[in-house]
Amino acid sequence: MKHEARHDEILAELLTGASPRESFEASELASCAACRELAEAHLGLAGELDAAGGFERAQLAALADDDAAIELGPAEAEFRRRVLRDLGLERQARGGPGALLGLLVAAAALVALLVVPKMIGGEDDDGGPRMGGEKELLAPVEVVPGETYGTFRWRYPLPERGWFLVQVHGEDGKITTSPRLRAHEWTPDPEEEASWPDRIRWTLEVYDGSRGSRVFDALSTSAERSSD
């Protein structure tokens, strides 16, 4: 049988349906050489992926049964320092002689927070904006009136040869990532945005091109659009 354009759609349907091999063999496409070649390639790769998935599950099961004693080492200690430093939590984690000074600094910060409530940026443990100064997420934050989230805007010093990325997440995971940006704002495609949920969390990531790495000082906040 000679290959026809309509075969492509039928083949896709067969290969993503129940019992794909049997369905293919029982179909008229079984006598089309081009379709057979495609079907064999598809089913072969799908079989390999099934096997890879099975292998991974078996490895995880074996790992769960592994009860060898493990003692954490310097790598975890270094990782802990790095994570807390990147998140800006390092200073708060220190105890000992510096703890009292830390408390005084925290108290002063609290007073400043009460006196200057509009210095915002990021998100604190209550889900509200975090003190940011030169690093702030400006919009959208909290409830945004209207049917669109509008333009995403922020304040953040751009590293030399650096760029920004905006990551948008819904409840079920990542929705989209902006292109590399050097501007301090980004307007998503309105058509794409229309399919987003009414509540999102967005994160501003900052990359330093001269170091070729991400600056781990990302800011994140949530926003809700409301047409009420």
């Binding site: 896709a12 349907e13 290969l15 993503t16 390639a41 598809h42 790769l45 390999e48 992926l49 099934d50 096997a51 890879a52 998935g53 292998f55 991974e56 599950r57 490895q59 995880l60 074996a62 790992l63 769960a64 592994d66 060898a68 493990i70 954490l72 080492g73 310097p74 790598a75 975890e76 270094e78 990782f79 802990r80 790095r82 994570v83 807390l84 990147d86 998140l87 800006g88 939590l89 708060q92 990021g122 998100e123 604190d124 443990d125 975090r130 997440h169 819904g170 409840e171 079920d172 995971g173 990542k174 969390r201 994160t203 990531e205 790495s213 991400r214 781990f216 990302a218 994140s220 906040t221």
Partner: protein, 204 residues
Amino acid sequence: MPESQTGRGERVHHHADLELVRDTLAGRRGAAEAFLERMSCVRRMVAFQNKRLGGSLDAGELEDLVQETLTQIWRKLPDYAGDGALESWVFRFVYFEVLARLRQLRRVPQLLDEVDDPPEPEAAEAPGAFEYERLHLALERLDAEAARIIRLKHYDELTFEDIGARLGVPTNTAKTRYYRGLAKLRGLLEARWPEPTAGEEGGA
């Protein structure tokens, strides 16, 4: 490790782990501490894989590998989508980091040019270690959504109905994206590892 499967094909979406990761990246202390605690699994995984692949890494090499793997995880953490338990996601990093390190130290066959060399005896007990690495590498090069759908289908054993529900798209859309994704993956695999022509079969 949190339960990730309630029955064949019925996978739980790990909202709690996803929230943990998001809150960690948002700089919430409680979440960061919980995340750090969860990452203690990395050393266990590294030690486990090293043992299964021949146990040739010494203590110093293991220590370096744990540190490098944790760094990789931290760099990639924003990509975690909650499709499996955090530890399952971490496992992939560990697994292929160990393989890459062993390869770097030339203690396992190279991907392309040394496939005729037999692996170490103990490594030979885990043939999938090498067999599936090329799939992993190709999936890493595929666009994120296509790779996610393929993993949901074959690694997490979700039906297209479940995948559609997970992604918030109709079942047929999930099928179409999967089908196209698999074709792209095939293209990537063929581009990197071309099928031998008849004249080349059996050669080096």
